[in-house]
């Protein structure tokens, strides 16, 4: 590179360097396309109760009738071909892909992010389960003693049908939106968590400690119930890149925070850039409950994800902190929703996005205050950082405030990496790319500092790699 060439242009080649796939070894693979016979087949394979089959079929009906959303990135959404994909793959009990077949650059990526080999093998699909039994057993024992339920959703449905029947789809009904309906019809996998009354779970529950957990599915369904006065931090996904040959991922996550509970949900997703990630996430916070969403989005072709908290009990609090990084050919359409339906409730939304190499990020938010929800306090802050002229950032904030006593603040900034910031850092010996990386890391700090240490370190390294544009 010549010394005068603007470095921002070659910060990153956007080829997804992490993509890899396993040989297909599925004991069951449905045919392409979607109709009621496929849905019946899925339910039958899983030996589900009749009510779940009925739920699925009802959802399918809604999905087929509902038009595609007429908002958001309709151009990219229009490219989804629903009949040209598989809706259910049951992985073999033991995935026997060979570690030695995993490409070296993937291994290097894992090394650079700094995750241990046992975990790397899980992530690469070599082992079906994070091979850390010793660690897992002690956590598992502690959780069992406290009465905590933490398992995959399919197992949950078999073992706790009543609990699931009571809450499943209770806050995101199938009719909520087309993609929620799709998930409700064909869901598979995901987590089921129940924290009993008054139980404080001290260690974060990490999805990859979950026993028998398979690789991330296409249509995950997660349900977390924090009973009265309990507290839990659930962490899902990881900063390691997740390759998927499936072009459409549509998860549904429902969080129920019963009175006085504290529920924090952290997720970082880093999909390969062929993926549509269209997710519905919602929480209800009952009286004096606290719900916190931490949501990090890297990769994918199009992500649409707007974590929501419905504050339905007096004194409840909701906090949503999200960050997104959009590169070439990517659209991160992310945001947050806070709905205040009870007095003395409060909430905060902080959104941080970085766009580079022509990437596009959007903040789409909703703040709604119902009449008679007295003394609501809400702060919204969204910051966008653009790394070059070709990149784009849009803000679509919606405010529906129907109560006089509400205090609402909204602050939005769009900034570019400043020439003066770059010069300052470069005058201290930092190469231009390192200087930009440091500025980006600083920009995301408000998000990163909320993460457990190992995730924070991984995320910072990952951002560095994204900026470097090389893993070699």
């Amino acid at each position: 590179m010549s010394p005068d060439q603007p470095i921002l242009n070659d910060l990153k080649t956007d080829d997804y360097k992490f993509g890899f796939s396993d040989p297909e070894q599925y004991v069951f693979k449905s045919r392409k396309g979607l109709d009621s016979s496929i849905v019946k087949e899925i339910s039958l394979m899983k030996k589900e109760p009749q009510w779940m089959l009925d739920f699925r079929l009802r959802s399918l009906d809604i999905f087929l009738k509902k038009p595609m959303p007429n908002w958001g990135d309709t151009e990219l959404m229009g490219q989804i071909d629903f009949q040209n994909m598989y809706y259910y793959l049951k992985p073999t009990e033991k995935i026997e892909a060979d570690w030695s077949n995993v490409p070296d650059d993937i291994k290097r990526t894992f090394d650079k992010i700094g995750i241990p080999e046992a975990e790397q093998k899980f992530l690469a699909g070599v082992t079906a389960q994070y091979d850390s039994e010793a660690v897992y057993h002690s956590i598992k024992k502690e959780l069992e003693d406290q009465g905590v339920i933490f398992m995959d959703m399919d197992t949950g449905l078999r073992e706790y049908p009543d609990l699931i029947r009571k809450y499943f789809g209770s806050i995101i009904p199938p009719a909520d939106n087309k993609f929620a309906a799709l998930n409700s019809a064909v869901w598979s996998g995901g987590s089921f968590v129940y924290i009993p009354k008054g139980v404080k779970v001290s260690t974060p529950l990490q999805a990859y400690f979950r026993i028998n957990s398979k690789n991330t599915g296409q249509f995950e369904r997660t349900l977390i119930i924090a009973d009265e006065g309990s507290s839990v931090h659930y962490i899902e996904g990881c900063t390691a890149p997740t390759y998927s040959s499936d072009s459409l991922h549509s998860a549904v996550v429902e969080l129920i925070a019963l009175p006085g509970s504290h529920l924090r949900y952290t997720t970082i997703q880093n999909w390969s850039n062929n993926v549509y990630n269209l997710v519905t996430k919602r929480a209800v916070a009952h009286k004096n409950a606290i719900v916190e969403w931490l949501d990090g989005n890297l990769g994918s072709k199009l992500t649409m994800k707007f974590p929501a908290v419905y504050l339905i009990g007096e004194g409840a609090r909701g906090e949503i902190l999200s960050c997104a990084m959009a590169g070439k050919g990517q659209h991160q359409d992310a945001g947050a929703k806070l709905v205040f339906a009870a007095p003395n409730t409060s909430g905060t939304i902080i959104s941080k996005s970085v766009s580079k190499n022509g990437g596009r990020s959007s903040y789409r938010g909703l703040v709604k205050v119902y009449p008679n929800a007295k003394n609501v306090k809400v702060n919204v802050r969204c910051d966008a950082l653009l790394l070059d002229e070709a990149s784009r950032s849009d803000t679509y904030p919606t405010m529906e405030i129907n109560e006089q006593s509400a205090t609402v603040t909204h602050e939005a900034t769009v900034s570019k990496v400043g020439e003066e910031q770059l010069f300052y850092l470069m005058s201290r010996g930092l190469k231009e790319s390192d200087a930009v990386t440091l500025i980006v890391n600083g920009f995301f700090e408000a998000f990163v500092k909320e993460l457990p240490m190992e995730y924070a370190v991984e995320l910072n390294r990952l951002i560095g790699m994204e900026m470097e544009g090389s893993v070699g």
Partner: protein, 254 residues
């Protein structure tokens, strides 16, 4: 006798098409402290930014030699790694980046090797104590919400850690109260060394009461119009730039 660190020959610099430096000559040997004084708009900051390699400042004529090498085409980071340092007049905030993280990244870039956390902490603590900086300072975000004095201290702290061969200090005294000025001046004096050159850029001679230069140059309208010893600063103080300007048009920096 020291080596020649910085040698500027017939330098012309334009900013956004407007010529600011108009034929400047200057030579700084190791062990020497030079001061450049001049009124507002004379080109003082343009000079320091140009030597450091700010892309907005275009050298249209002349050369800047550092240790005998023409550095005109080098980017700021390359100049920094070669040993040039600029203490900024208006240091920029880097929100979200802690002073500790920043300084460790800087030292890694300058020295080319990662410094063990323990060694770094020790070094940082020592240097911070000398500048009478509180421990909590290290956890704050770089220049974000800093007072003028805090910004200048951070600049001197960086200089103390980096140990550059050639340091340029741009209006380091501005925005400092008398106590802070003393602390910062002591910091600068401690860094005077036989293998280091310094160039103080200042509007007032106040700083020069604390940091005594070996040479003083008067910069007016993009040129050095007079050079002399430290007594020249006092002369400027009493006569003003008007009194000195043009009094010795042939004077060229040694």
């Amino acid at each position: 006798m020291g080596i020649t660190l910085l040698e500027i020959k017939d330098l012309h610099v334009s900013v956004e098409g407007k010529e600011i430096i108009k034929g400047l000559n200057l030579k700084i040997q190791s062990g020497e402290v030079h001061a450049i004084m001049g009124p507002n708009g004379s080109g003082k900051s343009t000079l320091s930014n140009t030597v450091m390699g700010h892309p907005k400042y275009v050298v249209t004529q002349g050369t800047i030699l550092y240790k005998g090498e023409n550095i005109n085409g080098f980017k700021a980071d390359e100049r920094a790694r070669k040993g040039i340092f600029l203490a900024f007049q208006y240091p920029t905030a880097i929100p979200g980046v802690s002073v500790t993280n920043f300084l460790r990244t800087v030292l890694k870039s300058i020295r080319g090797v990662e410094i063990a956390v323990k060694d770094f902490r020790k070094e940082l603590k020592e240097k911070m104590e000398l500048l009478e900086m509180k421990d909590s300072f290290a956890g704050r975000y770089v220049n974000d919400g800093f007072s003028g004095g805090e910004k200048k201290r951070l600049e001197i702290l960086q200089m103390a850690l980096i140990q550059p061969a050639m340091a340029l200090l741009d209006e380091t005294d501005s925005g400092l109260d008398i106590d802070a000025l003393q602390i910062v001046s002591e910091g600068i004096n401690r860094l005077r060394a036989s293998d280091r050159g310094m160039l103080l850029i200042t509007h007032y001679q106040r700083l020069l009461n604390y940091v005594q230069p070996d040479f003083v140059h008067v910069l007016v309208d993009g040129k050095i119009v007079k050079s002399g010893g430290k007594e020249l600063a006092l002369e400027l103080e009493s006569k003003g730039y008007e009194g000195v300007e043009g009094s010795d048009k042939k004077a060229v920096a040694r």
